[in-house]
């Protein structure tokens, strides 16, 4: 889960990292009041929990009151990376002469925190990594201890940071690592960390992505009312306990596992257009599949529903009852094709057939998709 910049900036500040004076605003008038309080010129930054805001025009420097009103009015309500902007952050404009990069992420392959630094801050760091990998220096940190200042200094020196700035940057990096640990972060990043004209350091941006699986532990720390990058149906899916990803086709898909769901989507996608990706996870009940049917059929214009289930950890016969109950109560007319294999498969097939579901008993999903194509022509 990505936090908003203003949330991450507050957290960084709480750990002693210097961030510029800033005020959050939800209307143009609030933005103007904030700008007057801070003093013009200011930077107005759209708040969405996603990267690439600068390139999308979500960050503007403004010098007059009229400009503040106009820019805030422009940004509020527009969409960046598909997410509606509900607030802007008004920030004191900082004069600087150098931009640096500090980041900590999880290296999935090694299974270790990876600290990355670069003297080419302010740029898209993935772009730097692709074009000039030598411009990024990195360090694996053993997970059973913290990052020490001496190793941060060594890393920064090796990366060519200006000698005068190394102690300050190392201190900031150690603090950023403390945030990374405390928040069970997947990513903690400052891009750019700037050297101001008076030679002090300032974090001009703050990025913090926390691990969803750790929220039971960090819930007290992470801001509550957090809006995610998800559509209405994706939100409904999360609320009933399934993963729903909206796509733009017209064949609804239900699967009982993520890998199977992706494969199903890919196989259907060769000849038809999937309306969604949906996987139930391992906690199928009658009720869950009833609600899941309701969820995918909320999307208008579906031509068919394709169901792909395995009974390993899941009681698929229970799930089948939910599907059939839904179909009967709602007199669903579009074709439903189901492949359901594993523990108690014969019982499951009987239940599904009693609701008019077309059951395919072969293993290969391709065969079931052929049945689907035959039905919808």
């Amino acid at each position: 889960m990505n936090l908003y910049e203003h949330e991450a900036a507050d957290i960084f500040s709480g750990f002693g990292i210097r961030v510029p004076e800033r005020i959050l605003a939800a209307t143009p008038d609030e933005a103007l009041m904030a700008a007057e309080k801070i003093g013009l010129p200011v930077v107005v930054k759209a708040q969405v929990p996603a990267g690439g805001r600068g390139l999308a025009g979500g960050v503007k420097t403004v010098g007059t009151a009229d400009e503040v009103l106009a820019v805030a009015a422009d940004l509020l309500g527009c969409r960046i990376q598909g997410i509606k902007v509900r607030s802007v952050m008004v920030v004191r404009k900082v004069d600087f002469y150098r931009e640096l990069y500090l980041g900590i992420t999880v290296d999935g392959f090694k299974g270790r925190p990876l600290v990355m630094v670069s003297t080419r801050g302010g740029m898209n760091i993935e772009e730097v990594a692709r074009q000039n990998p030598a411009d990024i220096s990195s360090l694996d940190v053993p997970i059973d201890r913290r990052l020490f200042a001496f190793e941060a200094r060594k890393l920064l020196k090796g990366a060519g940071f200006p000698a005068r700035q190394i102690p300050g940057c190392a201190d900031t990096l150690v603090r950023l690592y403390q945030v990374f640990e405390a928040y069970n972060a997947m990513v903690a990043e400052i891009n750019p960390l700037v050297v101001c004209t008076n030679d002090s350091l300032m974090a001009l941006d703050a990025k913090l992505e926390v691990d969803d699986s750790s929220l039971f532990r960090t819930a007290k720390l992470v801001p509550k009312s957090h809006e995610r990058n998800e559509s209405h149906l994706e939100k409904l899916g999360r609320e009933i306990g399934v993963t729903y990803v909206e796509l733009d086709g017209d064949i609804g898909i239900i699967s009982s596992g993520a890998g199977l769901g992706m494969a199903t989507m890919d196989i259907i996608g060769q000849r038809l257009r999937p309306a969604n990706f949906l996987e139930t996870g391992g906690a199928i009940t009658e009720e869950l599949l009833y609600k899941t049917m309701d969820l995918i059929l909320t999307k208008k214009g579906l031509r068919a529903v394709f169901i792909n289930l395995y009974g390993g950890i899941n009681p698929i016969h229970e799930g089948a009852k939910g599907i059939v109950r839904y179909v009967k109560e709602h007199a669903t007319r579009i074709p439903i094709v189901a492949k359901a294999l594993g523990n108690r498969q014969e019982e499951t097939w009987g239940i599904l057939r009693s609701g008019g579901v077309h059951v395919v008993t072969e293993v290969a999903t391709e065969k079931a998709v052929e049945k689907l194509i035959e039905l919808i022509g």
Binding site: G108, R112, T243, G259, L341, V363, A364
Partner: protein, 291 residues
């Protein structure tokens, strides 16, 4: 023959008294798995499906000689249970639960790495487990889809490993062992280490990798295959149409920072002379070719 697990493996079930632990113990026993003990702290002295339950892993190991363990432990307690299990001397650990904090998994992986020299191997998190057809299973796989034979399978996804095994079984190609590597951003054991086991197993003729978008496991495995794998390898990668930045059910299945894309995985594997399967059903042609 098989890798890692056979009918003589002495299996411990951790979290055996929970709802899922009980049900899955029933199915594992029904398959013939040699389950010798269960552990749930505070439930020592009871039994589940005739299996004695102990309070600690060390006690279970001392009393029953258990040498492998499968976890049905709630996610917040897995790190603790994992350290306990490694310290008790168990060398095959199958971590079935999902939603384990990533920082905990980093600690588990570091701890396992410190014990590498004693041949410790841990699978998961978020794995369906490991199954050697006709012998034993540790995990949640629906057994009827698997048949004994000479093809090894390594899969990130549980359900997709069932599909791949089922397609092979129906076409007359059985499996030596089916290994669930786990679907999290971090796997306790990387793909290449499992490939190495299959490469050394005289009963395995070739290996199918069932991968997904996200992460760099398949890309790293391609290097190992190019450098030192002797047996034929085929790979299917799920998620061709997965949109960027969306988590496709598995925490590890997310295309981010232009890393771990469908195209990068296919290209890396193709360059290592791996047969790319465009669809799971294509595995039949490959199995016929190598048999």
């Amino acid at each position: 023959m098989s890798i890692l697990l056979n009918k003589n493996t002495r299996v411990l079930v951790q979290g055996i008294t929970g709802r899922i632990g009980r049900v899955q113990t029933h199915w594992m026993l029904a398959y013939g798995t040699n389950i010798v003990a269960g552990v749930t702290p505070g439930k020592g002295g009871t039994s589940v499906e005739g299996v004695p339950v102990f309070d600690s892993v060390l006690e279970a190991v001392e009393k029953t000689g258990a040498d492998a363990s499968v976890f049905f432990v709630p996610a917040p307690f897995v790190l603790d249970a994992f350290i306990e299990t490694v310290d008790a001397g168990i060398n095959l650990i199958v971590v079935v639960p999902e939603h384990i904090p990533v920082h905990d998994v980093m600690k588990m992986k570091a701890y396992a790495r410190n014990h590498e020299n004693r041949e410790l191997l841990a699978l998961g998190p978020t794995t369906a487990g490991i199954l050697t057809p006709g012998e034993a299973k540790m995990g949640i796989m629906p057994a009827a889809l698997f048949k004994p034979g000479r093809i090894g399978i390594i899969s990130r996804s549980g359900t997709l490993s069932y599909e791949m095994a089922g397609i092979l079984s129906n076409a007359g190609y059985g499996q030596s062992t089916v290994v669930g590597k786990g679907a999290d951003p971090i796997a306790l054991t990387n793909l290449s280490a499992i490939l190495q086991h299959f490469d050394r197993d005289p009963a395995t003729a070739g290996v199918v990798i069932v991968g997904e978008v996200g992460g760099v496991q398949e890309e790293e495995a391609a290097k190992f295959i190019a450098d030192g794998m002797h047996k034929p390898v085929a790979a299917y990668i799920a998620g061709k149409f997965a949109p960027e930045g969306k988590r496709m059910g598995h925490a590890g299945a997310i295309v981010q920072r232009s890393q771990g894309t469908f195209a990068s995985k296919q290209q890396a594997l193709r360059e290592a002379d791996v047969t790319i399967l465009n669809s799971p059903i294509d595995v039949i042609g490959w199995a016929r070719h190598i048999s």
